[in-house]
Subunit: 399 residues, 2 copies
């Protein structure tokens, strides 16, 4: 018998995907070049040559039985050691291979992290605006997602709001910095305050409340500043990483979970992940790609286009009178809509061939997301459409 | 807080893995060449050249943004169409792309299949001897595994036993043909009787009881006979396939789920799999490997070594007086031990540097598994050790 709860999920279509599908359809009418498609967060730059070279070198030189053979349950030791060493060098941590578990992207890392530190019936607290897939990720593990309201003035964390949301059944907080959709990174101050709050709450409720830190956008940092590394601030942190954005390889499904060596049960986390894999059906990411990412851990695609696009868009949005926080990283920006109903705002934008995503889908009504992982030339061309849109619909007079 | 049920799983080590670890350790003492390691089911032949060529061609010629980009939620349409076409040609089925969902190996396919047709609290019935990972696969989906006792005379299915096991809470039967560990394939007669039984039981209990058919060894068929295709016999069949053994690429995690076009909700199965993926954290297998397997769907590694090894081993085991069924496929053989306690039998074999796995771990005490995915030369050399073992410990006089 077809499982009714999954059947019911078929009805709820992703808003992002619907807008993306509209862009594609509209592109067939007027040429996709003329649709200003800011809907999807899909990397637009190629992987570094070093990644392709690493794949080809492995295919050329390694014994195929070993290269394509089963990797150990806890993933490849030499890859785990290389990831640990890279994180230690960069963030002053002291991971060993024993704390690293290679996964099928950040989604795989989160699937393991959630099951590792929470039992069905518990809750996970995240912060709006948030990646909408967190809901199925959390509910798929038998948990409930609670969402703290957005602090729209700067998209940092509102600790006051946490008091009402965290209780004795809270297993973990789930953060995403730099953030999809806001582009904002949590400051060192925010992370220090959060860590102190979590330590006190753990004490109060008598169990370690974990911090699950989802960091697929860590390498897309603007202005040359290093994004603060959450695990550096709070011991009970599980870091979930993906190479999807840094190496532009989202379809190859490769990332990792890193358990802070000072977290509760630090030496158990990775062996437990090996057990979790057995029940959820992904036993290790690809052996070829485990080795390929290890060969270019300190490299990224040429990510400069995202900063170029951000600077252009931010200036233009300001010129058009939008209230908007300047992103610290990612390839998203999250301005305030020009009317209270962002869904209506985004619907009207379609008449100007602009594909924008309402913030409602990220738990933040009244705002909208633009994913600027597109060509810079198209970003520039979109400005005329943006101006026509806000002038005609909202009577904006650009500065 | 570390999840206690996963923590508890850490205690229970896999018997197969323990014996494999003993082989490795013993190999360090006397040279691994001198350990007759029949413990692990790991392909020993390289992938076909066509697979390596397909990977390199994709890396050389395809735009990397597309090649490594996200694949659609329901996986690549052209790959799904190619798999459907290949299955139709070979088994006279009428799949379309809409019935195929690419997965992270057979483990991924099973993780989806189980969640697709069962809800937590229901039960799944399988047949001893069975792959021990079925237990975590099934329990990980919130289901209970019930095991029908083995029919040791031929390792076909005992329908009588099913009557006591299948009830109104049974969601599906889970079969594996050709079978790990017996090497036996279910005959057309067995499958026809099973299908009739299932149709009657579905009627009796008022819901479709699905057949989940796990077929990673389908291409390792001996004697040139085609292994009967279970979905051909029963409409409500979900076929779970892996390229791990046919192409010798177990570490790349690539396979598929195929929903019989005449099963309940045939057009819903694949969309539901897309929903299930969101909750269990593997959103599509690698894009490179989806394309690479599509390029060599009708090829396999050179699998002849497995048949060569099987014929040699079967003849030798018969000569030594073992009761044993001749395998139809796989790279396993499953003889009866020479004493009632197969664990004791396998323990004694270690003194002769023979690594054998007791059938208890497959739900079939009194038997033992030999995985002969090793070099033929080593198989031959193992015969002297086997003969010494059975003569010294059990007074066997070889024919």
């Amino acid at each position: 018998m077809i499982a009714p709860h999954y059947r019911a999920m078929l009805g709820a279509k992703s808003v992002i995907r619907e807008i993306s599908e509209w862009s594609t359809a509209r592109g067939k009418e007027i040429g996709y070049d003329n649709v200003f498609d800011y809907s999807l967060g899909n990397p637009s730059v190629p992987c570094p040559d070093a990644f392709t070279a690493a794949c080809k070198d492995l295919l050329d030189t390694m014994d195929p039985v070993t290269l394509h053979g089963y990797t150990p349950t806890l993933t490849l030791p030499e890859v785990r050691a290389a990831v640990a060493e890279s994180l230690n060098r960069r963030f002053g941590m002291d991971y060993t291979a024993a704390h690293i578990f290679m996964t099928s992207g950040a989604a795989g890392a989160l699937a393991h992290a959630l099951r590792c530190v929470a039992v069905p019936g518990q809750n996970i607290v995240t912060f709006a605006p948030f990646f909408p897939e967190y809901k199925p990720y959390v509910e798929g593990a038998g948990l409930t997602l609670r969402v703290a309201p957005p602090r729209v003035e700067d998209f940092q964390i509102d600790l006051e709001a946490l008091n009402a949301l965290v209780d004795e059944n809270t297993a973990a907080l789930l953060i995403n910095s730099p953030n999809n959709p806001s582009g904002v990174a949590y400051s060192a101050g925010t992370l220090a305050r959060l860590a102190a709050w979590l330590a006190a709450a753990s004490q109060r409720f008598g169990h370690h409340i974990f911090l699950i830190s989802d960091e697929p956008y860590r390498e897309i940092a603007f202005g040359g500043t290093e994004i603060p590394y959450p695990a550096k601030f709070y011991d009970d942190t599980l870091t979930c990483y993906s190479f999807s954005k840094s190496l532009s390889v989202p379809g190859e499904r490769i990332g990792y979970l890193a358990a802070n060596p000072r977290c509760e049960g630090a030496d158990l986390i990775v062996p437990i992940c090996g057990q979790i894999s057995r029940g959820i059906g992904h036993n290790c990411p690809s052996g070829l790609f485990q080795r390929a990412v290890a060969a270019c851990l300190d490299q990224t695609s040429d990510l400069t286009v995202y900063q170029t696009n951000m600077e252009l868009l931010y200036a233009e949005l300001k010129r058009l009178g939008f209230t908007v926080n300047k992103p610290d990283g990612t390839f998203y920006i999250f301005p305030k809509a020009l009317e209270p109903d962002a869904k209506e705002f985004c619907r009207k934008a379609m008449a100007y061939d602009l594909a924008l995503v309402p913030g409602d889908t990220f738990g933040c009504p009244g705002y909208f997301r633009m994913a600027y992982c597109i060509g810079t030339e198209k970003v520039r061309r979109s400005f005329a459409a943006l101006e026509r849109f806000v002038k005609a619909e909202y009577g904006v007079e650009p500065r």
